[in-house]
Symmetry: none
Subunit: 542 residues, 2 copies
């Protein structure tokens, strides 16, 4: 057996499913299991047969995994029953999964308080359950629940529990830090001590992130000899989550000599795998996630950017392409010339580094950010600011005035209703147009009125829509009298998305500025000509 081979055990579909707010269906489970198999995970724990209808349906028609072993999860037999006569064990060992993982107690306090049985009976439960399961499936693992708390309280008893499973023939004895409170140096010491009795090649580690050390704890256990790591994608899991396999895999593969089932080619799918889980859960991916986050290779400080341009190793610990991620240069208050020039190149804007306009643009960005603008979340507004300063953006339209009215009153049916109505006077070239629209609030009404008017001139806007609207008050100590920043995200029929920002003491004004930028950017990108009069056909459309 190769002593440097680390086996990865994914519990996203079992322990991860315990997360507050997570609710996988069978299709989710199948898709995730297949993706885990594809990247090279050794064991895929699919769920707990008998615990709920989803898990039963999943095990009834398990996905065809090419390399990974599918694992069913359950408990050792109940107290006072024989292993052969325990319905839980029967459900656990009766699925199509070739491997099972069964949890049992190893902390004397839990045996006494939570189970209320004798300590000998607990050891019998472990041994007999493993022996029984071995007659029904290929591979049996024992999850020693609360092993580290148990070992601190009563090392001899905790070790006896682990040994009972080992001697009964379990392939893996997995040491669990169930409450997640153990620090890395303790994990390393305790695993090292256990490895004197049970070979490290049969020891696993299962950590939770309650002190933000689950990844480090898993690494510490490996250094002490353990050769199986249990974890989840994106660290999904109850409370603070489980050890994050998405962080562990590249650290092990790129920074140590251990061997994995995941190879360098498969590693390029890591960012995609991480985002796939978030998509399934309808969550926004964490920008700051190690290796795979959108910001993981983002550079904001001016000095950093100029160094990265010279050699990315100056501020990147690995090449982002190795994990399927990419570099991202950010514009902000912190930025210097190099930053802004790099951003210009990204948006395809050609300007020489020594052009005097660069200095004035850097200054302009700084002043605007001091006023409350934030361009690093609003790339489209940044592009417009730059192109306007360089004279590249026409005035597609001018708003002569607008008026928004919000009215709360009792209607004819005796209901209290609030209605918003916006009137806008727009100038496009020589034409002047006035429209009115209602909406679910002043900004929605304003957006509708503006779009109604503009469609007469710019049919390019037909498929554009707002997809997000965020408000931040910048000086909260002044309450509703404060300066407001509005960020708007827009999208069109091609799937393109862009973000714009507006700032003003008046929230309506700030919203309007962000809307204005959103529309202008779309027209610029669509290559729309400046219309000086409305095409007849389009005008009728409005």
């Amino acid at each position: 057996m190769d002593d440097s081979r680390i086996y990865l055990f994914d519990s996203t579909l079992r322990d991860g499913a315990q997360t507050q707010g997570v609710d996988f269906n069978v299709l989710d489970k199948q898709a995730i299991a297949e993706a885990l198999d594809k990247i090279g995970i050794d064991y895929v724990e699919g769920g707990w047969p008998g615990a709920n209808p989803t898990d039963d349906a999943f095990f009834a028609q398990p996905p065809g995994l090419k390399r990974a072993k599918l694992v069913a999860f359950g408990m050792t037999r109940r107290p006072g029953r024989s292993a052969g006569n325990d319905p839980g064990l029967a459900a656990l060992t009766g699925t199509k999964a070739r491997a099972v993982c069964m949890v049992g107690k190893s902390w004397d306090f839990h045996v006494d308080v939570a189970l209320g049985i004798s300590r000998t009976e607990n050891i019998d439960m472990i041994a007999e359950s493993v022996i029984h399961a071995k007659t029904r499936v290929d591979e049996v693992m024992f999850d020693a629940e609360h092993f580290f708390d148990g070992y601190r309280a009563n090392p001899a008893y905790a070790l006896d529990c682990a040994k009972a499973a080992f001697e009964a023939g379990a392939r893996w004895i997995v040491l669990c830090d169930t409450n997640g409170g153990t620090l890395p140096h303790e994990i390393e010491r305790i695993v090292g001590e256990v490895a004197k009795t049970i070979p490290g090649t049969q020891l696993g580690i299962h950590c939770h992130n309650d002190t933000e050390n689950a990844v480090a704890n898993s690494l510490a256990a490996v250094r002490a000899g353990a050769r199986q790591i249990q974890g989840t994608l994106n660290g999904l899991g109850e409370r603070c989550g489980n050890a994050n396999l998405v962080s562990l895999i590249p650290s092990l593969l790129l920074k140590t000599d251990y061997k994995l089932g995941v190879d360098r080619e498969a590693l390029k799918g890591l960012t995609h795998l991480s985002r796939l889980l978030d998509e399934r859960l309808n969550r926004a991916p964490s920008r700051n996630a190690a290796y795979v986050g959108e910001s993981a290779f983002a550079h904001k400080g001016g000095l950093h950017v100029s160094a990265v341009e010279k050699d990315p190793r100056t501020y990147e610990h690995i090449d982002p392409a190795l994990v399927g991620n990419r570099r991202h240069i950010v514009v902000s208050d912190q930025s210097g010339r190099a930053n802004i020039l790099a951003r210009f190149r990204d948006i395809g804007l050609e300007i020489e580094a020594d052009d005097p306009k660069v200095a004035s643009l850097v200054e302009l960005v700084k002043v605007r950010e001091y006023d409350g603008y934030a361009y690093d979340g609003a790339e489209a507004s940044f592009e417009l600011l730059a192109r306007r300063e360089l004279g590249g953006i026409p005035d597609y339209f001018r708003v002569a005035r607008f008026r928004v009215m919000d009215d709360r009153r009792w209607n004819a049916r005796g209901e209290l209703v609030t209605e918003s109505e916006a009137t806008i006077t727009l100038e496009v070239g020589e034409e002047r147009l006035m429209t009115v629209a209602t909406g679910n609030g002043p900004v929605n009404a304003l957006d509708s009125a503006l779009r109604k008017a503009l469609l007469a001139f710019y049919p390019e806007l037909e498929d554009m829509r707002l997809v997000d609207y965020k408000v931040r008050i910048l000086t909260p100590s002044a309450g509703t009298g404060a300066v407001t920043r509005v960020m708007i995200e827009s999208a069109d029929g091609t799937g393109e998305r862009w973000s714009t920002v507006g700032v003003s003491p008046n929230i309506i004004d700030a919203s309007f500025n962000a809307l204005h930028d959103g529309i202008s950017w779309k027209l610029y990108r669509a290559g729309a000509p400046v219309r000086s009069d409305a095409p007849k056909g389009a005008a009728r459309k409005s």
Copy 2:
């Protein structure tokens, strides 16, 4: 010197400000610095003098910190200049901050590639800058950038850089894992080797989270001898963030024998401190954050819950109250009931557990929370909801209708202005009153008009004011047509603060509901009688 004392250095306002999407203003910086001081952080790094207008404004009027030392950040002198003639060093050492932290290179590759100077010149820059700064401020620290990458590449040179700062008199030599790629065992080995030359009581550690090991790396450095930890609140920071002080503080205080400036009493403010930062950034706090997350002590269903009810230690690594957090039992009607009864006790509302009104209130809260109300951050609205249901709150006033108008137009002086004006028709007892007021936006105008009308009846409102106003869109996929939740924080002359919530598809309506609750709560707490006609004196005041 006490060898077990760990000094905490917070870089939220400097390195944290590098985070993509983070944009502190001066008020944010002041409030966060004061909160860091209060909990017992030793060093508060305020920013980089001379780098941007916000940091300059912050250092021009620094907050009065009671215990923490304020630190200014900057760089060693530039190549080819004397330290006394370097504008950066002059800005760094010329503020009211008594301590400075200056960054310099310690990786030969960076000296060669990023700076392009001789290695001797780099060492001179470090030594001369420290010596010069020591003549102008009380305490000088040296941030050895890329120390771990540098040590791996050329240990002798990296150590020479650190020694140059040490011998020049720097109080702290901070070893930075700038690119965040180093694993805990390497950190422990390298810090241990450096500590043979520079005493650990003068070594600091500065980690980034690019492998999800920043917390563990900081702990590893401390075990190897370092006695200063640099980090940020909630792990804020560029790319994947910095070491998270919010996780490190309780681990060190509750699980090791090291001593901190934070004591057990202050530790109870940790959850509040973490959420304060998120509030300032208008971010949803991470539910899964170690120690302080809303889910950090959540127990979902079944076996865990019944064990926790027998003894919380069965599934909790610490008592959540130690860090100001709380246990959270998820789902089950029974625990919903217990939860809500516990919240009643918190607000001093006495009700028997078997009162039939409890069941209808539990139902009402569930329905309202499903609609988008969030009572966790809006205790005053929760209290009003409960007391109204129990018949304890009178209708102090009724709004017959209101109308808000926002007008953007060119004024007589040729300026584009946006004005908001609100008209409100109010009924108090038999009286009917109509007022009008203007404001910096529709909500501000509405608030002014409402207050103007009510002051005639309720002089108790004289000293009440809005202190915060937050908006969150609850179904972002629908853009500005989505459901909006508004949270308002109010305060009065006694220093009392209370929060209320309003939800509606219409942002103005949601804002008005939150305002209405804020005023009603104040009147209820002040014991105001329901006025059926305006006192003459008060009426004249308006």
